[in-house]
Amino acid sequence: MLGQFPRLLSYLKPYKKRVLLAVILLLSISFTPIVLPKLIAYTIDTVLPTHNSVALFHVFLAIVAVYAFRGVVSFWLNFTIGWLGQRVVFDLRFQSYRHLNRLSLAYYDSRQTGKIMARLMGDIDFIQQMISNGFITFLADMLSIVVILVVLFMYQWKLALVAVAGIPFYVINFKLFIRHIRPLSVELRERWDAMLGVLQEKLAGITVVKAFAREDYEIDRFMQTIQDNFNIGMKQMKLNRKLGSIAQVIRAIFTGLIIWYGGTLILHHHMEIGELLAFSALVNQLYDPAVRIVDFNVTVQWTVSAMQRVFETLDTRPEIVDAPSAIALRQMHGGVEFQNVFFGYERGQEVLHDISIKVDPGQVVAIVGPSGAGKTTFVNLIARFYEPSRGRILIDGYDLKKVRLESIRRQISIVSQESLLFSVSLKENIKYGFHDATDLQVVQAAKHADMHEFIMALPFGYDTKIGEEGIKLSVGQKQRMSIARAAITDPKILILDDSTSALDSKTEANVQAALEYLMEGRTCFVIAHRLSTIMSADLIMVLDAGRIVDVGTHEELVAKPGVYQSLYNEQFRSATEDGLEALLS
């Protein structure tokens, strides 16, 4: 279980001087809690009865001195541990995020964004708490218990026995209840997460809720989740309070016992009243640390599971990494070749079978095929988002696996099926792929995507923010924005995944004309369903159920019976049946 700890400690290593400092500081103040009761006892038992006002003044000075010392040291100590905790958190977070960015898409496919975020924020915060509070409190508690016990037994061992006798009761009570409280806390946490999930999904998907007039249904569902939270919250409180109340009574009984027994001892002149007072003050500092120490292993367990989750992320090997000998492909020409490529997202469920195709630099390839055939998957492999399970992909004759990933991706632009834009200004969105772009280049890219006029008509032009706090774009406008974003990077390979589906033919033609100019000398892969987009391609690749069923030009494919021909007929005939005469006449 503790296996993770050495690893966490390794994060403290660079700061070992500070850790050492913290330990020394801690040791040096651990005796202060016993000094004050002793001083008071001394005052009551010795100073006051003897009317020694000089000694009294010394007591005064001693108290001030102890507090001053304690103040300086504890400030230093607390600051040091606080700093250490924050620093380790920073290091961990930085590492985790850097690592997350290295992980490939497959990692994200199987994980909820919310969970990844919880690791990066919540779990790491938990570790910080552990470092800043857990460890130190534990050490301090241990020290103070030992010191107090020694002092108590030195005072009056019989009385000390009475005090110590209370600890087991206290601890047992705690243990009995906490066994039931812990699962509730976990459950509460889960219910709370569930509630957040419902909230997030239904607020983000409010359009669907409203379209189906499901508001009342959603309110009911939400009500159920918060009712759950309510019930568990109450249950947890009851147990907590019972634990607290019984502890309070146990403590009172033993304090009472000590006073009673101590008083009897005083009557028999075995001790003095001031000592008794000091004694009972010290006993009070015994119980809570005892429980905290007993409970420490739970904190440790929680921290360990938080650490496990964080380290799991850190230990996930990115499926796609640069080979040590990988070369940077500085100037790509754009030749792409698939050699007997097989691929599946999940083991045993193959999506692409035996794909072989050769595309020359500068060619425009249209990919057609029924929905779910694997078109998106095919282009994802070119950008090396996933690794083929068998076969090779070559770019300019180099095996994709032997080329530096970043050098490839910088020269490939993908406009994916779903347009994801960031909630920043239009300009920053377009510049995302190429941060050093000049304003002129931004305008040029927007013009290519036929967005310039629309943007200029906006009051703030290119600086208009989009997203929840800015303006809304229609779906076609979003698509054109992502085309602009791809266009600005000057890629050698351009991939358009169904990215003009929301454009009318005229806008599409405009974009296409601009793109064609742009496509000059670039290899393009275009996934589309509309004939007009496909027909002018140099090469049409027909995919069906993960296999290439045909490759050729439009003329070739239309001429022979097959998937493409029927696709063509379907779309064309329905449109031309009535239209033809009208148009030809």
């Binding site: 998907g205 379209a211 005083i266 009557l267 076609g476 007009s532 009208a582």
Partner: protein
């Protein structure tokens, strides 16, 4: 302050609980007072000879008093916590329900302008802040003020001169607190803001990780993130330093007070003015009963300030009136026949930027209407208006002759089925996703709808079939598969009017035709609106409406519009240019032959 009064009004409905809590609080603080006094009795009995006669009895009495006090305060404490938690939890639950229910009544426009994260935080964090004020600060302050008054009273009763001396550091203590707390508050506010920024960025970048990766922007993102977390580190360290500083100084000042008390008090004892027991009582009361309660009372001020912001946001939400509401005398919509009429409709999202400009459109029951036109010309907006997500600003829309503003919203929307342009599915099973269309649908009906949408075979091929989880936790579907699920969901709702906004844009023509044919059968006699850019999808529409910049440019059947030779005809020839040329060539060949 006005917010605050309103808040009190919200709390007023729990007055019974509040009364019980007040009584219990008084009891608890009363029960907490005696222990130092018991110490005084004890000390006096031992130090003053004339009192020590019946010591054994007194010892038993003190013991009994300790146990009795603890037991009764344990019991009252238990009930006090119970009532407070009950109040807090009830308040949170009621408030959350109120907020969420209210949000559900608001129209789409509201959600487009608010970040989902902010709305969530309103329901979760802001409400929790209020609860902290009620069940934390309020109760504490009640208890603390009672304790403070009682303790000061006891102290002055014991010895007023010693009281004044002992309390001499008290103002410094408070001043120290006040000096620090302002800075601490601003720092922790910045910490919170910084965290929110990081959170927001993270959320966005992780959701769009594919974009980040395809532009190889990882290094840049890491750099960005490092910068932000470094800021957070700085702020956190500052916050640590400040609060450590505050509490160390506070402890020192308190210690100084104790030292002065012991010194001056000791002198008084020597002079026989007070007893050693009284000194011990002072020592006990001042250490444990004075400083903490005072600080908590000062903190109330802070808590109120913080709550004020939360209150403001909550009430802002609650006060947002839904733009689209049922009229008081709104009638439920009878079964829709399907006649739809747009009469000179004007609409704008933003003031003075009309998106729909005087559209008039008449649709007979059972007709299929196709909307085509440039991207951004207002097609989606047109159908949004029919569902009454927004109200027109001029003109009116009628369904079966009834102005849609005069009928009950829910009765309209349940009869209008829609497949929205950006497919949105929930993170649950396929079956649950489909059933969202009609909650009472049986499994057979669900499968039937999936067949119509031509997705049944895909679902059945999945290992878990209809019980497959979708979304982040479950399987990923291709774009076209998602669209077909959305279509099946709309079909299941058995709508009288069906709206398909680019519902088949990611489908190949063959699949599309299959779906269309199945739909034709199903929707026979029902009105439908279809938005599509692939013209083959819409050629057989009864009415094709061509839109440009918010106005209707042309209207008619495929035939008529082609003959007109306007915008539609040019769209058409654009799309089929190559094919038409080919056919023309063929015809020529045939003609020559």
């Amino acid at each position: 302050m006005r917010n605050f009064l309103r808040f009190l009004k919200e709390v007023k409905s729990y007055w019974r609980l509040l009364v019980v809590i007040s009584v219990l609080t008084l009891l608890t603080s009363a029960l907490s007072l005696p222990p130092p006094y018991l110490i005084k009795i004890l000390t006096d009995d031992f130090t003053q000879k004339h009192l020590s006669a019946n010591l054994p009895h007194i010892l038993i009495l003190i013991f009994a008093a300790y146990v009795l006090l603890a037991s009764s305060s344990a019991i009252t404490g238990y009930w006090l916590s119970y009532c407070i938690t009950l109040l807090g939890q009830h308040f949170k639950m009621d408030m959350r329900k109120k907020l969420y229910a209210h949000m559900q009544t608001l129209s789409l426009g509201f959600f487009e302008k608010s970040k989902t994260g902010k709305l969530m935080s309103n329901i979760t964090n802001d409400v929790a802040t209020l609860d902290q004020l009620i069940s934390g600060s309020f109760v504490n302050v009640l208890q603390d003020s009672v304790t403070l008054i009682a303790v000061i009273f006891i102290l002055f009763k014991l010895d007023w001169r010693l009281s004044i001396v002992a309390l001499s550091v008290y103002p410094i203590y408070i001043a120290n607190y006040l000096v620090f707390i302002k800075r601490i508050a601003t720092t922790s506010a910045s910490v919170r803001e910084q965290r929110e920024t990081i959170y927001g960025d993270l959320q966005e970048k992780l959701t769009a990780v594919q974009v980040v990766k395809s532009y190889a922007r990882e290094r840049y993102e890491v750099l960005q993130f490092t910068g932000e977390t470094r800021n957070l580190l700085g702020l956190n360290v500052r916050a640590t330093a400040l609060s450590t500083g505050l509490w160390t100084l506070a402890e020192f000042i308190g210690g100084l007070g104790t030292a002065i008390l012991i010194w001056y008090g000791g002198l008084q004892v020597m002079q026989g003015r007070i007893s050693a027991g009284s000194l011990m009582a002072f020592y006990g009361y001042i250490g444990g009963y004075l400083y903490q309660p005072t600080l908590r009372m000062i903190q109330l001020n802070d808590a109120i300030a913080r709550t004020n912001a939360a209150l403001w946001r909550i009430f802002l939400n609650l006060d947002t009136k839904p733009i689209v509401t049922d009229k008081l005398d709104a009638k439920p919509m009878p079964a829709i026949r399907g006649e739809v009429n747009y009469e000179d409709v004007w609409f704008e999202y933003q003031q003075d930027q009309p998106v729909i400009k005087g559209v008039s459109l008449h649709v007979e029951p059972g007709q299929m209407v196709a909307l085509v036109g440039a991207s951004g010309s207002g097609k989606t907006t047109m159908v949004n208006l029919l569902q009454r997500h927004y109200d027109v600003i001029k003109g009116r829309i009628t369904v079966d002759g009834l102005d849609i503003r005069d009928i009950k919203l829910a009765s309209l929307r349940t009869q209008v089925g829609v497949v929205i342009q950006e497919t949105m599915l929930f993170n649950t099973t396929i079956r649950e996703n489909l059933r969202y269309g009609r909650l009472t649908a049986t499994d057979e009906e669900i499968e039937e709808a999936a067949k119509v949408a031509n997705i049944a075979h895909v679902i059945e091929a999945l290992p878990k079939g209809y019980d497959t989880l979708l979304g982040e936790d479950g399987v990923k579907l291709s774009g076209g598969e998602k669209q077909r699920i959305a279509i099946a969901r709309a079909i299941l709702a058995d709508p009288r009017i069906l709206i398909m906004d680019e519902a088949t844009s990611s489908l190949d023509s063959e699949t599309e035709t299959l779906i269309q044919e199945a739909l034709d059968r199903l929707m026979a006699g029902r009105t439908s609106f279809v938005i599509a850019h692939r013209l083959s999808t819409i050629v057989k529409a009864d009415k094709i409406v061509v839109m440009e910049s918010g106005v209707i440019k042309e209207m008619g059947s495929h035939h008529e519009l082609l003959a007109e030779g306007g915008m539609y005809a040019s769209l058409y020839s654009q799309q089929f240019k190559v094919a038409l040329e080919a056919i023309a060539a063929q015809n020529e060949l045939a003609g020559e032959a």
